[in-house]
C-alpha cells in the first residue's frame, strides 16, 4: 500500500505539493489561537492533591506568591540603615504599591508592617516599623535595632548583617511575575545611589524562564535549521536537492505545532521544545534518502526509477526508525504530567508526519525536478570513487580493524557498560528552576546575593492540623513549645534558613507586654495568656497578619519555612527532617501535617517526572525490542540491535554521574529522544546488511559495501545533527544547553557504537545476524517465548501506564498471555508447516 503511495506521489507531484501546502496553511492558521503556559505548577494535573492543597492553604491562610525585591548596600558602614537608603526604600514601596497585580495591602515592607515595641511612660506601642521618611541617622539605627529585634523581620525583611533589606511583593497571579519584575526594575532605575537591586523568588524565575524560553525558541530552532542546511549543502552540494529536507522539517514542525494549538493545548515549556526535537528526526530520513538517491541516480541514470529504487531500499528501515522514535515519545503519554503527555503525543505525531512527508513530499519534489537539472547536479567528488577519497580509505581501514579485532571490541563494549554503570549509580536527581538560567544571569546573581544575606527566598509551608478541630490546640502552651522545638531542630539541621510561626509572634508579644526584657522572650504558661497575647496583637494596624500563621479557630498552624536554595534535593531533605522529628517526638495533641508552597510543589512533580520517566523508558525499551524482534523475525537479532542503543544510553547517562550534572527535568525528557534516535542507525545498519547479504551471500562483500554508502550516510547524518545543535551549547538557558549536549552525544556515540559494535558482532555471529531465518519466528520455541514475554511486559506496561488495572490484574493478565502463547508456541513449532519449513531450511 505504501509503495503505491510513493508511486502516486511520483506520478502526481503537483497534487502532493498542493496537499502539503494546504496542510501547512491550515496548521499555520491555528497559530493565532496560541495559548502560552509557563507555569511549572501545571506539571501536575489540576486535581493533584498537593496542588489542590496548596491552593486551599493559600486561600485559608491568605498567602500569595511573592516577588522578592532585595536592596543591598555594601558600601555604607551601616548597610541599608542610613537615611538615604531607607528613604529610597520608602519611595520605592510607595511606587510598587501602584503596580497592577501587586496586592498592596499584603506587601511586606518597613513602611507597612507593624512592629510592637516599648513606648514612652511604660507603654507598649504598635507602630509601623518606618511610618514615613526619616531625617536622622539615629532614626535609621532605631529602625535597624527594632527590625532585628523582631523575629518576624530579622532574616526575612532585614538581613542579620544589616546590609540588605527585602521587600516582598505579593502578586495576584504567578504569570504576572515577569511583567511586574520589569516594572519594578523600571522603578528602581530612577534612584541613583550606592544601592544594588535584585529581584528573585520562584515565581519570577519560572515566569522569566518562560519568557526567555520563547525568545530562545525563536533563535535556537531556526539557527539549528540553518546550520543543518549549511552542512547538508556542504555534503551534497546541491541547493535544489537539500531544499527538500529543509522543507520537510519546516512543514513537519508547522503542522505539528498547528495540531497542538488547534486541539487547544497550551504551549508549555515542554511543548516549546517540540520543533527542536522534530527537526533532527525529520532531517535524518531525508539525509538517508538523498545519500542513496545520489548512488541510485548515478547507477540508473533516470529520475523515477532511481526514486523507486531508493524507496525500495530504505522503506522498511525508515518505517521502523520512525515507528521506534514515535513509540519512544508516545510512551511519555503514560506520564502523570499533563504537559509531558502532550509533548510526547505530539512529538510522536510529528515523527509520523515527518515520515509521511518523507514518503510523499520528497518523491514528489524529486519528480518535479527536470532530468536536465538533475544531470547537472554533480555528485560530490568523493561519491564518484567510493573507495578512493579520504573518508572512503578511512572507512575501509576501519572495516579491516573491526573484523580483525571483533572480540576486543565486544570486550571493550562490556567494559564501557560496566564503567558506565558505576557512573549511573552516582547520578543525583535534582532540579531547581533558578538553575535553568546560566551562571551570569541576573536571576542567578540575585538568587546568590539575597540567599547569602537572608534566611532564604524559597518558601515552603508546613501545615499542621489538629484532629480535634474544636480544641484550639495551637493556643496550648504545650503545643506551641512542641513547635518551638521543631523549629529549633530544623534550624540545627542547616537546610532551613529560617522558619516563622505563631510561636514567634506569641513570644515577641508576650515579651513586649511584660516590658521587653529578653528573658521573657518565651511562651506564656497558660492558654488564656496565649489568647490574650494574641488579642493584644490584633490591636495592630494589620490584625489579619495573624491569620497567615494560624486559623481563627486555632485548629491549624502554618509554619513558614525559608530555604536558601531551590534545589529539590534540599527541599527533600527538609521534608525528611520534619518526618523524623514528628516521628520521634510525639506531639502533645493529635495532629496531621501536609506541605504546601512552590518549592515543595516542584519537588513533587520532579519526583513524579523522574520516576515516571524511568518507568516509561523501560517500557519503551521493551516495546522497541519487540518491534525489532518483529522486524528482523528473530528475538536474538532483536536483542543484538538493541546493543548499540543500550551502550549509547548508559554511556550518556553515566556522563551525568561522572560530571556531577543533576538528573533534572530536561534530562528526564531527553531519555525518550535518546531511545528514539539511537536505535535508528542500528536499524539502518542491520536492515541494509541483510538486504545486501541476501543478494551476495558473502559477509566479506556485504561488509565491504556496508562501509561504503551506508556507513557514509550514517556518518553524514551524525555530523549534520550533532554539529547542527552545537550552537545550543551557547544558549543562555541551561535546558537548551542540555538538549544541545544530548543531541551531540546521542549522534556521536550511537553512530560510533553502531559502526564498531554491530560489524564486530556480525563478524562473530554471522549466521544470527545475516541469515534469513531458517524458519518463521514462531517456529522456534525460544524466539516464540521471548516474544510472548515481550508482549506480556508490553501489556503490563500499557495497563499500568494508563492506570487501567492494578498490579494484581495486570500481572495475572500477563501470566495468562505467557501461558497461552507458550501453548501456542509449542503447538505451532510442532505443527506440520513448521516442520516442513525446518526441513527446507536444512536443505538450503
Amino acid at each position: 500500500m505504501f509503495r503505491k503511495l510513493i508511486r502516486f506521489s511520483v506520478h502526481h507531484p503537483r497534487l502532493i505539493m498542493a496537499v502539503t501546502v494546504l496542510s501547512v496553511a491550515v496548521s499555520v492558521a491555528q497559530f493565532p489561537r496560541l495559548k502560552v503556559d509557563t507555569d511549572p505548577e501545571n506539571m501536575l494535573p489540576e486535581k493533584e492533591f498537593v496542588r489542590v492543597f496548596h491552593h486551599e492553604v493559600k486561600k485559608e491562610f491568605g498567602l500569595y506568591d511573592f516577588i522578592v525585591l532585595g536592596i543591598v548596600n555594601e558600601n555604607n558602614p551601616q548597610g541599608v540603615f542610613n537615611v538615604q537608603t531607607l528613604n529610597t526604600i520608602y519611595a520605592i514601596t510607595e511606587q510598587v504599591k501602584n503596580i497592577p497585580g501587586v496586592i498592596s495591602r499584603e506587601l511586606i515592607a518597613p513602611s507597612i508592617k507593624d512592629n510592637i515595641r516599648q513606648g514612652e511612660l511604660g507603654s507598649v506601642i504598635f507602630e509601623r516599623l518606618m511610618p514615613g521618611p526619616i531625617t536622622t541617622a539615629e532614626e535609621a539605627l532605631r529602625i535597624r535595632a527594632e527590625a532585628q529585634d523582631n523575629p518576624m523581620f530579622n532574616g526575612t525583611l532585614v538581613s542579620e548583617d544589616g546590609k540588605a533589606l527585602c521587600l516582598y511583593l505579593p502578586i495576584e497571579q504567578k504569570n504576572m511575575s515577569y511583567r511586574i519584575s520589569q516594572e519594578v526594575f523600571a522603578i528602581v532605575k530612577q534612584f541613583f545611589g550606592e544601592e544594588k537591586y535584585h529581584i528573585t523568588g520562584l515565581p519570577v524565575a519560572e515566569d522569566t524562564f518562560g519568557v526567555e524560553m520563547f525568545k530562545q525558541m525563536a533563535v535556537s530552532a531556526p539557527l539549528a535549521g540553518l546550520i543543518i542546511f549549511l552542512l547538508m549543502w556542504w555534503f551534497f552540494r546541491s541547493l535544489t536537492l537539500i531544499m527538500s529536507p529543509m522543507l520537510v522539517a519546516i512543514a513537519t514542525v508547522l503542522i505539528t505545532m498547528g495540531l497542538l494549538i488547534g486541539f487547544g493545548f497550551p504551549v508549555h515549556i515542554m511543548s516549546s521544545m517540540i520543533p527542536i526535537f522534530l527537526m533532527p528526526i525529520a532531517v535524518l530520513d531525508c539525509v538517508h534518502i538523498l545519500s542513496s538517491f545520489f548512488e541510485q541516480y548515478r547507477r540508473l541514470g533516470k529520475r523515477d526509477p532511481a526514486v523507486f529504487a531508493v524507496m525500495d531500499e530504505l522503506f522498511t528501515a525508515m518505517l521502523y526508525t520512525s515507528l521506534t522514535s514515535a513509540v519512544g515519545f508516545f510512551s511519555l503519554s503514560f506520564s502523570d504530567i499533563p504537559p509531558v503527555q502532550a509533548f510526547g503525543v505530539f512529538v510522536a505525531i510529528g515523527v509520523m508526519v515527518a515520515w509521511l512527508l518523507t514518503m510523499t513530499f520528497i518523491p514528489a519534489y524529486i519528480a518535479l525536478l527536470n532530468e536536465e537539472k538533475l544531470r547537472k547536479i554533480h555528485a560530490p567528488a568523493g561519491e564518484g570513487g567510493e573507495a578512493s577519497d579520504l573518508l572512503g580509505r578511512a572507512l575501509a581501514g576501519l572495516r579491516r580493524f573491526i573484523l580483525a579485532r571483533s572480540r576486543l571490541i565486544v570486550v571493550l563494549s562490556v567494559v564501557v557498560v560496566i564503567v558506565s554503570g558505576y557512573g549511573i549509580s552516582r547520578i543525583t536527581v535534582n532540579d531547581n528552576p533558578v538553575r535553568w538560567f546560566t551562571a551570569g544571569h541576573r536571576i542567578r546573581i540575585a538568587d546568590e546575593v539575597l540567599n547569602h544575606h537572608f534566611g532564604g527566598t524559597y518558601t515552603a509551608y508546613l501545615i499542621l492540623e489538629a484532629h480535634d478541630k474544636s480544641a484550639e490546640i495551637f493556643k496550648e502552651p504545650e503545643m506551641l513549645r512542641y513547635i518551638e522545638r521543631l523549629q529549633r531542630y530544623l534550624a540545627e539541621q542547616g537546610d532551613v534558613g529560617k522558619s516563622t510561626s505563631l510561636v514567634d509572634v506569641v513570644k515577641k508579644v508576650y515579651m513586649e507586654l511584660l516590658g521587653g526584657q529578653p528573658e521573657n522572650y518565651r511562651i506564656p504558661d497558660t492558654k488564656a495568656a496565649v489568647s490574650q497575647c494574641l488579642i493584644s496583637y490584633e490591636n495592630s494596624h494589620k490584625p489579619d497578619d495573624l491569620w497567615h500563621m494560624t486559623t481563627p479557630d486555632a485548629a491549624k498552624l502554618n509554619l513558614w519555612i525559608q530555604l536558601k536554595s531551590g534545589d529539590n534535593r534540599d527541599m527533600d531533605r527538609v521534608v525528611r527532617q520534619v518526618e523524623s522529628f514528628l516521628g520521634s517526638q510525639a506531639a502533645p495533641f493529635a495532629l496531621e501535617h501536609h506541605w504546601a508552597g512552590l518549592t515543595y510543589i516542584n519537588l513533587v512533580w520532579q519526583n513524579k517526572m523522574v520516576v515516571g520517566m524511568l518507568v516509561n523508558f523501560f517500557g519503551s525499551f521493551i516495546i522497541v525490542f519487540f518491534m525489532m524482534a518483529f522486524l528482523f523475525r528473530s528475538a536474538a537479532l532483536g536483542l543484538i540491535s538493541m546493543i548499540p542503543l543500550t551502550i549509547t544510553i548508559v554511556f550518556i547517562y553515566s556522563l551525568l554521574g561522572f560530571f556531577g550534572k543533576d538528573y533534572d527535568m530536561p534530562v528526564a525528557v531527553l531519555s525518550a529522544l535518546t531511545l528514539g534516535l539511537s536505535i535508528d542507525y542500528a536499524i539502518h545498519f542491520i536492515q541494509r546488511s541483510r538486504e545486501l547479504y541476501a543478494v551476495n551471500r558473502s559477509w566479506e562483500q556485504t561488509s565491504t559495501q556496508m562501509f561504503q554508502g551506508p556507513a557514509r550516510a550514517i556518518i553524514k547524518n551524525a555530523l549534520i545533527i550533532a554539529i547542527g545543535f552545537l550552537p545550543l551549547l551557547a544558549a543562555p538557558l541551561v535546558p537548551y544547553r542540555t538538549v544541545g549536549f544530548f543531541m551531540f552525544t546521542i549522534m556521536f556515540v550511537s553512530s560510533f557504537s553502531t559502526m564498531f559494535i554491530l560489524p564486530a558482532i556480525t563478524n562473530l555471529a554471522q549466521k544470527t545476524v545475516l541469515a534469513q531465518p531458517e524458519s518463521k519466528m514462531f517456529c522456534q520455541c525460544g524466539n516464540c517465548f521471548i516474544v510472548s514475554a515481550a508482549v506480556a511486559v508490553t501489556v503490563i506496561y500499557i495497563l499500568r501506564g494508563y492506570s487501567l488495572a492494578g498490579w494484581g490484574p495486570s500481572l495475572s493478565i500477563s501470566v495468562a498471555i505467557v501461558a497461552v502463547m507458550g501453548g501456542v508456541c509449542s503447538r505451532v513449532s510442532a505443527s506440520a508447516a513448521c516442520r516442513l519449513e525446518k526441513k527446507e531450511g536444512k536443505n538450503v
Binding site: K59, R105, V124, G132, P524, Q532, S536, N539, K542
Partner: protein, 263 residues
Amino acid sequence: MCKIFGLAGLCLFLCAGGAGNAAPLTVDEIVAKANTVAYYEGSDGRAQVAMTITDSQGRSRKRVFTILRLDMVDGGAQKYYVYFREPADVRDMSYMVWKNVDKDDDRWMYLPALDLVRRIAASDKRSSFVGSHFLYEDISGRALSLDKHELLREDDAVYVVRNTPIESMAVEFSYFDVSIRKDNFLPVKGEYYDKQGKLSRVVEAVEFKDIQGHPTVVKSKATDLAAGGATVTEFTNVEYDLGMDETVFTERYLRRPPEKWLK
C-alpha cells in the same frame, strides 16, 4: 475641639437626634452638628455589645463586651471602659480610654491571664479594635481639624460631605465621604477611598431606634472592600444617664470590674 463621625463606632449607640433644620447650613456647621450628635448624647451611657467579625473566607469570630461611657465635658473629653465577656479565654479582660481633646488619648488594658495592666500607646488611631474591621478612630472619633470638608451634594434626606485629610501621609485613605441624615444629623454612612481612588472601606449604621429620647444606632457594620470581610456590631441593653461616677474609669477598676455598672 470636637470629634467627628464615630458614626459606626461604638459611640453610635449613644447618638441622639437633633431637630431637622430648614435654614441652610454651612458645611462646617453640618459636620460640627453631626459630631455632637454622634458622640455626646446624654451625660453617660452603657450597652452590651456583640461583635461578629467575618473574614473574606466567611469564617467568623465573636467578641462580647460591655461598654461604659462618661462625658467629662460636653463636646470634649470622655472616658470609656470596655469589659470583655467572650470569648472565654479573654473573659475579664478590660480596656480603658481617656479621650483627650488637646493631646493623644490615654489607653490602658488589663490582661488577667498575665496579671498585667499596661498602657498602650499608638502612633496613630487607625489600628484595629480587637481584630475587628472597626478602627480606634471609628470609636473615639476623628478630629474635625484633620480634614478639609466640602459639601459634595445633598438631597431631601442626607448631606454628603467629603473629608480630605490635610496630612495625607498619615493615613491610608485619600478621602472619605460621609452621609449625614438631615432629620437628626446622624452620620449614617462613611465611605473611604484608597490612594488609588478606589472605594476600599465602608462604615455604616444599619439600624437605629429611639431610646430614652435619643435615636440610637443598634446595629452597625464596617466592611473591608479591599481584603473582603466585615464586622457587624449589635448593641443591646442600651441605657443613658445612669449617673456613673468618674472613679470607675481608673486603673484600679481595670483589675476589679465595676460590677454595679456592668450588669
